[in-house]
């Protein structure tokens, strides 16, 4: 069935949400001083930009009109100075704002990443990888847009607008008042436009999401479409949505096509008023030319920011939607918490006890039922059972990936819930069936981030599992790059890297989920030996897929449908002719064949 979750991201909410804004502002709070500075510079640079028409006014009235060429030269010099200051002020302000935005973004991104690291496994089960990535990466980017282009530009635009009004009133309050007669008209037009466009924009986003979901679904199900020869009909459905989308776009084009000329006409009305009324004043000698010219220039500067406001609205809207998603993630709590006073220990022995343990991933769907099991220090135990019987769930509980609902699990006699997960995992090495390697070298992958493990120890671990003996692909030894996901290594090599990793950490407890993949005989022998090395001297729990392994362990635990059914040695259990006998025939018996030949 198709997965539409990708497209929930396209949904749009409000453009401004005070609750969200408050939370967002928390992240710029540490930079309060810098913001004040940036705003101060913003005011200065706006004011300087507004000085342009005043200079022209002065030039006309004071110098050109009276024929004072020297004065004109001095004014030109002054203007040059203003331009210079304005240049640096604007640059500084843009950079400073970007700096604040980037810093805040850095903090928020770290916070989100850190938060995600602290979440329990159930979060990762519920959320597709792509969604988590989007939260940490692109969603936070659009917050940056909010800071560095959205909010600041809006503030800058508002300054410009009010600044112009202010300067006009200072120069000639009567003319200013009359010029601005058209302003209410403009405000009404802008509000109407915003309402219309917001609605259209939302509809467009909805249809785009629908269209993408449609493509996603039918690309995923393309073979069904083709096998039932439904291409025509599916295309018609696509065409319907596509056509509706075009219709919506056309509708919104009309809004824009009406709005922009409207702003220009209103601006022309203002200019007309300046010429007519202002010109009249000039005739009467009540006003100078320069004022007339300055006013007409201010009109030109006045309408651009108003036009731009509508575009910034979209930035605001998508940034709000992003921040809502990011905060939702930050509000996700881990399924269980580390106890306030965790058990402190300077080293575990490795004794594990399950007592009447019940466990479910989803409420009431019991995966483990009434588990009782005692694993002594240093004991080697194999978990055996069909797929989905509950073997991995048991190891997941020991690793404290999930919380158990009923019963008790103890580690060295202390309840598992009283431990900090980190303490437990420090004493356990996990080897997964699907080996996961990070991009980097073999050494990186053996050591992971643990600086306490020296190069010598890494080398020793690699030697102990015979990693470098396998194949001839590892020309650069431990420095060989494993490629993305370990793609440059063979299956066997990947296995051994994860073995060496487990060994280098020298844990008290080993949990090994054996790989089912078949490998050639030489590799098989090496892996078999490495498994022995790994288990030596530590409590070992093996989810066994190899006959050689189950023959080595101290006891075999047979898990069937979430319960432990049989416990005993290989021979005992075979003699019993119960579930193990069956499983043996099914899973392991074939492995005897190559040995017999």
């Amino acid at each position: 069935m198709s997965d539409h979750q990708y497209f929930e991201d396209d949904a749009l909410g409000k453009a401004y949400d005070s609750q969200l804004m408050k939370r967002l502002l928390q992240y710029v709070k540490p930079y309060k001083k810098w913001i004040v500075l940036a705003l101060a510079i913003l005011i200065i640079s706006t004011l300087l930009r507004l000085a342009g028409p005043v200079i022209i006014k002065l030039a006309i009235d004071e110098y050109i009109a009276v024929g004072d060429a020297d004065g004109l030269g001095r004014l030109a010099l002054l203007y040059a100075g203003i331009l210079l200051v304005q240049f640096f002020a604007t640059w500084g302000q843009i950079y400073l704002m970007e700096w604040i935005g980037q810093k805040a973004m850095y903090d928020l991104r770290m916070k989100v990443f850190r938060h995600v690291q602290g979440l329990t496994m159930d979060f990762y089960d519920r959320n597709p990888v792509g969604r988590i990535i989007t939260r940490v990466t692109s969603d936070i980017n659009s917050l940056n847009e909010l800071f560095s282009s959205g909010v600041v530009n809006i503030i800058g635009d508002l300054f410009t607008i009010f600044g112009i009004v202010g300067v006009m009133f200072v120069i000639n309050s009567k003319l200013a008042a009359i010029t601005l007669i058209a302003l209410p008209l403009l405000i009404v037009a802008t509000i109407l436009f915003r309402i219309k466009v917001r609605h259209a924009y939302r509809e467009i986003r909805r249809l785009i999401a629908k269209l993408n979901a449609f493509v996603q679904e039918h690309v995923s199900g393309i073979s069904v479409v083709q096998n039932f020869v439904q291409e025509r009909r599916i295309f018609n459905r696509f065409n319907d949505i596509n056509r509706e989308l075009m219709g919506r776009h056309h509708k919104s084009i009309i809004y824009y096509a009406v709005f922009f000329p409207t702003v220009e006409i209103i601006s022309a009305i203002s200019l007309g008023i300046i010429i007519w009324y202002g010109g009249g004043q000039v005739i009467q000698g009540a006003m100078t030319f320069g004022t007339l010219v300055a006013f007409s220039q201010y009109m030109e500067m006045f309408y651009r920011p108003i036009r731009d406001l509508s575009e910034k609205y979209n930035i605001l809207q998508s940034a709000m939607a992003s921040s809502e998603r990011v905060f939702k993630l930050l509000d996700t709590k881990p399924a269980f918490k580390t106890p306030a006073k965790p058990v402190i220990t300077d080293g575990l022995k490795g004794e594990i006890k399950f007592k009447d343990v019940w466990f479910a991933y989803n409420k009431d769907e019991w995966v483990l039922k009434d588990i009782n099991l005692h694993i002594r220090t240093g004991e080697k135990v194999a978990f055996v059972g069909a797929t989905g019987s509950g073997k991995t769930s048991m190891t997941n509980l020991i690793l404290r990936f999930y919380d158990y609902q009923k019963g008790s699990i103890t580690l060295d006699g202390k309840e598992l819930k009283d431990f900090d997960g980190e303490t437990i995992r420090k004493n356990i090495s996990l080897v997964l069936q699907d080996v996961f390697l990070f991009s980097g070298t073999i050494e990186d992958n053996i050591r992971l981030g643990n600086g306490d493990i020296s190069r010598e120890q890494v080398k020793k671990a690699a030697e102990d599992v015979n990693l470098l003996r396998l194949g001839n692909g590892l020309k650069r030894g431990l420095d060989t790059n494993v490629g993305e996901r370990g793609g440059m290594l063979s299956v066997g090599q990947r296995q051994l890297v994860s073995f060496a990793r487990a060994l280098a950490y020298n844990p008290r407890i080993l949990i090994l989920d054996e790989a089912t993949s078949s490998v050639d005989t030489e590799t098989e022998v090496i892996i078999q030996k490495a498994t022995e090395t790994l288990m030596k001297g530590r409590t070992s729990i093996i989810i066994a897929h190899r006959l050689s392994t189950i023959k080595q362990v101290d006891k075999i635990v047979v898990v069937h449908k979430g319960r432990i059914c049989e416990i005993g040695s290989h021979d005992e259990l075979l003699a019993k002719k119960g579930i193990y006998y069956n499983l043996y025939q099914l899973q392991y018996k074939d492995q005897e064949l190559p040995a017999a030949v």
Binding site: I56, A257, E264
Partner: protein, 589 residues
């Protein structure tokens, strides 16, 4: 010549669109010219007003006339500006609509191999982002470039008329402007690219971190991961800041240069006014013109960026559009329409494209019309490939597979597909109602037939127990079916089409054995009236087939009835044994 043809070739689809919709382009150009020409008259009127005032020749009524003229001209220009969007931008949405339709229609015809080598996300990205980028090229970029070209040339002409000297002074600044925007533009482009690159590095890091969460947690790597990520994050903001340093220069520089030009005009122009060689009105109008072409000039840079992005996107779309289906109907007989359903496979060997391992080796199989053949064998033995080839999912050599004695390469794809009902193991249902899913291939939705098919597939009872029955929606906002329910729905979907050939490829894998037995009993009548191929891991499914074939490593190892094969085939006997063990195990509590 070569360059030119390459250029045209790249824009072929765009040009074809303009040819199809000439009126939008012609009208668009016309109204853009009119908009700009009218828009350029206002400063001239301002000039006249100022000169009149200056010479004390102005009267109130004259001023009123000027003011009225300015408003009327603005209304006229506004009207044409409205038409500008109504034609060019309007048309670009039609272009978007058309190209998206062409793209999707093309997708529907592409073969399995294409979908195996292309990620769904990539296809969607091309259908949305790339289409949008191409539209920006077809609409806004075209509008803006015409707009800029006309307004700049008109304004420059008028400026020359007003004062060629001042024009020359003003023009000295423009090369500076274009050199600067160009330089900064290149740098910004490079930095942006670096940032993009680093962003993907960071994304990959998070991807690895999340995918490898078990290892991260098991080895207590959280802090280390945070530390590494902090490094990447830091580099990211550093890169962004170094971009901000350059990008932050952009606007101030432009304001600065324009400011300097105005300064020069004011100084030299002012001197000319003083010595009487030009009027004050001329100077003011001149400054107006200068300011009015500032944005059109800047827009040229924007258009260049749109052009680069647009052509790159167009190329990405074309790459898929150029992809042809290797199983397209080329040399077919349009009337070839299998009806009996007799299948014959002759010496068929097959390897996947770009793979040198043979997955099928010398397969020979004849299924007479109306018979049921079952295929068993271990995973990867070639069972599914064999039936996929009957459906021509990949290119099949001539004369290897025949249906009703017609080479399948002569049968049109649609006819072949209508003749073969195929139920794969991986079930895909659409997020629609159950009814629509079952009747997916039908022209009309007939309730009784849907219920009948659902009955045969053994899902009718369960569906009728849903509160909304067959109207139940699946998917996102609907119910989630279990694996077995999905498979049975897919089976019903194939049954209702009533094809002469029915292929069930492990179609009961998620259905429990008891239910499967019930379905098989119901299916009996359906299977008897057509040619069927059953692929299964379960012996219980295949036991009653007319013939069972055992496949191993791409070959048919043995064929016969259940009893015969237990004697004849070691592999078959082994599978039977394992199966009974599994059943025993399943029965245990």
């Amino acid at each position: 010549m070569y360059m030119k043809s390459k250029f045209l070739k790249r824009l072929e689809r765009l040009i074809a669109y303009f040819k199809r919709h000439k009126k939008y382009l012609y009208w668009g150009v016309l109204v853009t010219v009119l908009t700009n020409v009218i828009g350029m008259v206002s400063p001239w009127i301002v000039k006249m007003a100022i000169d009149d005032l200056r010479q004390n020749a102005a009267t109130y009524s004259q001023l009123r006339t000027y003011a009225t003229l300015i408003v009327i001209l603005a209304i006229g220009a506004g009207f044409f500006r409205f038409l500008m969007r109504r034609t060019i931008i309007w048309g670009s949405r039609i272009f978007e609509y058309e190209i998206r339709n062409e793209f999707f229609l093309h997708l529907l015809g592409l073969p399995k191999s294409f979908y195996q080598e292309t990620a769904t996300g990539d296809i969607i990205a091309r259908g949305s982002n790339d289409v949008e980028a191409t539209r920006l090229l077809a609409g806004p970029a075209v509008m803006q470039i015409i707009n800029s070209a006309i307004s700049i040339s008109v304004a420059l002409t008028l400026m020359f008329v007003l004062s060629w000297k001042l024009t020359l002074i003003a023009l000295t600044g423009f090369p500076l402007l274009s050199i600067l925007t160009n330089r900064l533009g290149t740098k910004i482009h490079q930095k942006s690219y670096q940032i993009q690159q680093h962003f993907s590095t960071m994304t990959s890091y998070v991807q690895e971190n999340v995918s490898g969460v078990k290892v991260v947690k098991a080895y207590n790597q959280e802090e280390d991961q945070i530390k590494n990520f902090a490094g990447l994050n830091k580099t990211y903001i550093d890169l962004n800041l170094s971009l901000a340093r350059i990008r932050g220069l952009f606007m101030p520089s432009i304001y600065g240069i324009v400011g300097i030009i105005i300064l020069l005009l004011l100084y030299f122009g002012g001197k000319q006014v003083i010595n009487g060689s030009i009027t004050l009105g001329t100077l003011v109008a001149f400054i107006f013109y200068l300011m009015s072409i500032m944005w059109p000039m800047l827009a040229v840079g924007w258009v260049v960026a749109l052009y680069q992005r647009g052509t790159a996107s167009l190329e990405r779309i074309e790459k898929i559009m150029r992809r042809k289906s290797e199983v397209a109907d080329t040399d077919v007989d349009p009337n070839a329409r299998p009806q009996l359903g007799e299948i014959e496979i002759r010496d068929l060997s097959f390897r996947y494209p770009n793979d040198d391992q043979e997955v099928l080796k010398d397969v020979n199989l004849r299924i007479p019309s109306g018979k049921t053949v079952a295929i068993v064998g271990p995973t990867g033995c070639g069972k599914s490939t064999l039936v996929e080839l009957i459906l021509k999912a990949y290119k099949v050599p001539d004369g290897k597979i025949l249906i009703d004695d017609i080479d399948i390469n002569r049968i049109p794809m649609a006819n072949l597909r209508r003749a073969v009902g195929y139920v794969p193991q991986e079930t895909f249902l659409f997020s629609r109602t159950l009814k629509e899913n079952i009747a997916f291939g039908e022209e009309k939705i007939i309730e009784e037939e849907i219920e009948k098919a659902a009955g045969i597939a053994g899902i009718r009872q369960e569906i009728s127990e849903f509160p909304r029955g067959f109207e139940t929606r699946l998917g996102e906002r609907g119910v989630t079916l279990s694996g077995g329910q999905k498979q049975r729905t897919a089976l019903a979907r194939a049954i209702i089409a009533n094809p002469p050939i029915l292929i069930l490829d492990d179609a009961f894998s998620a259905v429990d054995t008891n239910t499967e037995e019930l379905i098989l009993r119901e299916l009996k009548n359906v299977l008897e009236t057509r040619t069927s191929i059953l692929i299964s891991h379960r012996i219980s499914t295949v036991k009653n087939a007319d013939m069972i074939c055992v496949m191993e490593e791409g070959r048919i190892e043995a064929c016969g009835t259940h009893e015969e094969l237990i004697e004849k085939s070691g592999l078959y006997a082994h599978i039977v044994e394992l199966q009974s063990l599994e059943e025993e195990l399943e029965a245990l509590r």
